[in-house]
């Protein structure tokens, strides 16, 4: 491998790490809901893509940043709807019930999107597409950097929300011990619902950022984003937000690394094998004490 290849490789991994911010956001959503309710919401990534689609309704009337904002808000609304339909009235003691209901929701959202758009991919607006930053022999794509920065802002916002506000306090209390939290006067259902709304806001942002980075939205995006988000959640450690952030960037970088070495059709095999390596050697994830399982 000569120097030119090495530069290409680094460039490709760099792009991947920047795009990995969207995986981080999806991973945080999964991990947040798991932390509070000990449930997986498999419909989460599909709802995120759905939110990005909904924001396309206003795309011709308002400037691009407002479109992203609308996507985030729609994500919150969809998150609340998913909670209401798939979790609120189901027996939470039966783990299979909510698993299946969210799978059903995932399929329903995916089908609904492909019916309403006739299965055609739709263009999604990006920002700073021409603003490339050159550093030595590398250049950083402006739109990817923007996606990365928005992702960072959303993550910082979430951490502040969880650490500084009363809502965040309630969320963390319910996550730690639901019964004690309820005895202290916190409503479990309202806290759960607000967690879904917060996760939905992040998901809507992630959907919009994925759309902006790729340039198009497609219903085919929902399943890969779900799988990647779950991989990120597991590698980062269930319930760990910093873990999800780091794991998202790692998965994004690893994806492009393997794509560069082995080609696009074999790329995901190695990403999945990476997951297995983590499951075998560090089942608790990056940011948890070794030996912790589930």
């Amino acid at each position: 491998m000569d120097l030119l290849d090495l530069i290409d490789l680094t460039q490709s991994v760099l792009d991947g790490v920047l795009f990995g911010a969207t995986y981080s956001l999806i991973g945080i959503g999964f991990t947040l809901i798991f932390g509070v309710m000990h449930k997986i919401n498999l419909a989460y990534a599909a709802a995120s893509v759905g939110a990005a689609y909904l924001s396309l309704i206003v795309v011709s009337h308002v400037p691009v940043p407002v479109v992203y904002l609308v996507a985030a808000l729609m994500g919150g609304v969809l998150g609340w709807l998913v909670y209401l339909i798939c979790f609120r009235f189901l027996p939470l003691s039966n783990p299979l019930a909510t698993l299946m209901s969210t799978v059903g929701m995932l399929l329903a959202i995916e089908e609904l999107i492909s019916h309403l758009t006739q299965g055609m991919p739709m263009n999604y607006p990006a920002m700073f597409q021409s603003a490339n930053i050159e550093i030595g022999s590398f250049f950083i794509r402006g739109d990817l950097l923007f996606v990365f920065l928005i992702g960072c802002v959303a993550m910082v916002g979430l951490t502040q929300l969880l650490k500084r506000t009363r809502l965040g306090l309630a969320t963390r209390a319910v996550a730690q011990q639901p019964v004690a939290a309820q005895l202290c006067g916190m409503g479990i259902n309202s806290t759960n619902a607000s967690t879904f709304v917060i996760a939905g806001l992040l998901g809507g942002t992630a959907g919009a950022m994925a759309g902006a980075a790729i340039g198009v939205l497609s219903p085919l995006l929902a399943l890969p984003l779900t799988v990647k988000g779950l991989v990120v959640t597991v590698i980062g450690g269930l319930g760990s937000i910093p873990g999800a952030i780091v794991a998202g960037l790692i998965v994004g970088g690893a994806e492009n690394l393997f794509q560069f070495i082995r080609g696009v059709s074999e790329r995901d095999i190695y990403v999945m094998l990476l997951l297995f390596v983590f499951l075998v050697f560090r089942p608790g994830g990056l940011f948890s004490p070794p030996g912790g399982r589930d």
């Binding site: 000990h38 798939c86 027996p91 209901s101 019916h115 005895l183 799988v227 999945m272």
Partner: protein, 317 residues
């Protein structure tokens, strides 16, 4: 008539797939790997009959056997984790299998021309049934005798010691472990038997369609596999059969006049069933005279100690 024979074949194959997921679900594990074992069985059995002219029975058994061995090999690392981690691990495994077949190119010259898996174009020319002159009726007889055999086998398992072990682990792992049950062995045995059944289903599927490709074996197939037993109710084998007939027969074929919108109904229906009958259509409480202790239907947060402990214990997925 041909239409109904074809439908019966599809229902038979999907019943086998659902039963394979039933084994694993019975031990309380959610596995999305069944689509992967199905793919292994399909490719192995298809390659053996089309490329090396093996007899069908031998090819099906070999396909099921290899799927079983792979399931056991994957089972040992995968069964160390549970709940969400297992869902993700098995999804990852199924994706790996699908992508391996997506990249597999192995074509050889035979008397019927060049056959073999051809990467992303899929694997065509599995022409055992047409070239040996099997009628649709005979294919049906084969599929349904396999379904019958597997049903009998699982019914027997369920009544024997094996079923007791599986159910004990499924109901409460900690209690089972303290009763001296080897958790890993129990789970891996269920995983292996489930893998073998899925491999068998895959082998039949490859010969039924004559052309398989990687997109047949995506996450959607695995979702269908676990949806059948869960929707039908884990308490009985009949539930799985009932759910397959309902989904494949009524929802996908009976509602054909709705056009493409019926696949939207599938998702909505799963949500609906889980809302109305969270334990499945044919859960225990439906059988007259066999009303067991009903599971707690509403999750009213309770301060009662034992109840909380139980909720905590089952909050893992």
């Amino acid at each position: 008539m041909d239409f109904y024979l074809g439908l019966a074949q599809v229902i038979g194959i999907h019943t086998l797939l659902g039963l394979s997921a039933w084994c694993v679900l019975h031990t309380g594990q959610v596995s999305l790997a069944q689509g992967g074992f199905f793919a292994i069985g399909a490719y192995v059995a298809g390659m053996l009959t089309s490329m090396w002219q093996w007899p069908l029975a031998l090819a099906l058994v070999t396909g099921a056997g290899i799927a079983c061995v792979v399931a056991i090999a994957v089972g040992f690392p995968a069964m160390r984790v549970k709940g969400l981690m297992l869902v993700v691990a098995t999804t990852a495994f199924a994706e790996i299998v699908r992508l391996v077949f997506f990249n597999l190119e192995w074509r050889i010259e035979t008397s019927e021309g060049v056959v073999g898996p051809n990467g992303s174009l899929g694997f065509g020319g599995i022409r055992y049934f047409p070239s040996n002159g099997w009628s649709a009726f005979e294919v049906n007889a084969l599929i349904w005798s396999l379904v019958g055999g597997v049903l009998l086998l699982l019914w027997w398992f369920d009544r024997s010691r094996v079923g007791t072990l599986w159910r004990a682990v499924g109901e409460d792992e900690i209690a089972a472990q303290s009763a001296g049950i080897n958790l890993t062995a129990t789970k891996v045995s269920a995983f292996g038997i489930g893998g073998a059944i899925a491999g068998l289903a895959g082998g039949v599927f490859a010969h039924y369609t004559t052309h398989v490709e990687h997109s047949n074996f995506g996450i959607l197939l695995a979702t269908f596999a676990i949806a059948y037993p869960i929707l039908g109710g884990l308490a009985s084998l009949a539930g799985t059969l009932f759910a397959v007939i309902f989904i494949q027969g009524f929802l996908l074929e009976g509602l054909r006049f709705l056009g493409e919108w019926r696949s939207l109904l599938f998702g909505a229906l799963i949500v609906l069933v889980m809302l109305v009958r969270p334990d499945g259509f044919l859960s225990r409480a439906l059988w007259p005279g066999r009303v067991g202790p009903r599971r707690q239907q509403t999750a009213s947060p309770s301060v009662d100690d034992s109840d909380t402990a139980r909720q905590e214990g089952s909050r893992h997925a």
